[in-house]
Amino acid sequence: MGHGRWQDEVGRQRRRRWGSGALWGLLVLAVRASAAGETGAQIEIRNFQFVPATVEVRAGETITWVNDDEEIHSILSGEGLFTSPGLDGEQRFSYRFEKPGTYEYRCALHPQMKGVVVVR
């Protein structure tokens, strides 16, 4: 049945993602970074909002967005610097900000959702 086909496919995709070394590496890095208190700002996507909506980091730091909603969201840079894939519930996306500046972003599916990253 078609139903089983797409659910199986979705399951396969998830296992592939969760099994990928790259993602686990990012998670480990994020945990280490926050444990050391160095970096690793995290932005939660909750109730169709980026929380906090404005985050300030130092150049070279990585920000991780985590989707806590049941709805799919994405992270889309206003300047086209970065675009996440669709993030389903509990999925995450990280981006390392190399240069100082003010970076606006939004959700591509819900453009009323906006956030700002200020890099010092």
């Binding site: 995709q13 109730n47 591509a108």
Partner: protein
């Protein structure tokens, strides 16, 4: 048998007993609330040559698998079963977008199969933002774009009614979810030019053309530019999805009807911190989901829009 407006109102009174509230405005008869399909059946049985009967489903969100509805394929199939159980085969089925949930792998295959199961003379669709999210609409157009222009807009005539399918979700990468764009607006102007103001118009589109709740993205930023050239027509009916609930608005000769989803409900505008899937007790889910029948009386010019719950 020819049915007069009085007879239609009699039917409407029967529907009122089933929870329907009716309004008559600018010659348009329309439902404001939810009905059992019994009243619609009564009107269908009283149909006469020249009448038109079609159905609308919306927001099937195939690929969604969260608490609000772990199995949207099953509920979409129930909606199709209700269509197939109608005593009259609809002239066509309209799907007003979000066929898939963010183009999950395989979801377009599933929804295409579901639509093929529907007993209807034809199927017409417009995309929702979830259908174009990953690839800008390439797969959607490859599957459903036959006979359309641009990002998937089209018009056609049936039984003296002019139908216009609009696309207001494609330019999402430039933050234009809820926009039609200049090219489509220019096409709409050309499409309407020269048509008699007495031609009934039905517009189908995903995101509401009117500002239901812009704070939640429930609006089309250039919707008014589309409505401008439509206002000279005596009867304009706008059918949309996106917000997963029945709302209605009347502006002169233009009536707006948003539709239920077959997948999951969303909160009423402004009643939650944001839009999104609304989890309700499983035993109540089907009372938030449904489909729509539209019956156009060619003889009297009356239009009935009937929203029916799955259960």
């Amino acid at each position: 048998m020819q049915t007069t407006r009085r007879e239609l109102l009699t039917c409407a009174a029967a529907w009122a007993g089933a929870g329907v509230v009716w309004t008559v405005s600018s010659g348009i008869l329309s439902s404001r609330a939810l009905a059992s399909s019994a009243g619609a059946a009564k009107i269908r049985r009283a149909s006469s040559p020249g009448d038109l009967h079609f159905v609308q489903i919306s927001d099937t969100h195939i690929g969604f698998d969260k608490e609000a509805n772990p199995d949207p394929v099953a509920t979409a199939r129930e909606a199709v079963a209700k269509i197939n159980a109608l005593d009259v085969e609809p002239a066509f089925l309209l799907h007003t977008g979000d066929l898939t949930h963010a183009q999950k792998p395989g979801a377009f295959d599933v929804v295409s199969g579901l639509l093929q199961e529907a007993r209807a003379g034809a199927v017409f669709t417009v995309p929702g933002e979830h259908d174009v999210f990953v690839d800008g609409g390439k797969e959607y157009l490859a599957r459903f774009g036959t006979g359309t222009l641009g990002s998937g807009w089209r018009s056609f005539d049936h039984s003296g009614v002019h139908f216009i399918g609009l696309v207001n979700v494609v330019d999402f990468k430039s933050a234009k979810v809820g926009a039609l764009g200049d090219e489509q607006l220019a096409w709409l102007q050309r499409d309407l030019a020269g048509r008699s103001a007495s031609t009934p118009i039905v517009v189908f589109v995903h995101i509401p053309l009117w500002a239901v709740y812009p704070e939640w993205g429930w609006a089309t930023t250039d919707g008014e530019q589309a409505l401008g050239p439509l206002r000279r027509f005596g009867s304009v009916t706008v059918l949309n999805g996106h917000i997963h609930q029945v709302l209605q608005k009347v502006e002169g000769s233009v009536t707006f009807h948003t539709a239920m989803s077959t997948a999951y409900p969303q909160p009423a505008p402004g009643t939650a911190t944001g839009p999104g899937p609304l989890a309700v007790p499983a035993e109540h889910l089907r009372s938030y989901l449904g489909l729509r029948e539209v019956i156009w009386r060619g003889t009297s010019g009356a239009l009935a829009v009937v929203d029916s719950r799955l259960a």
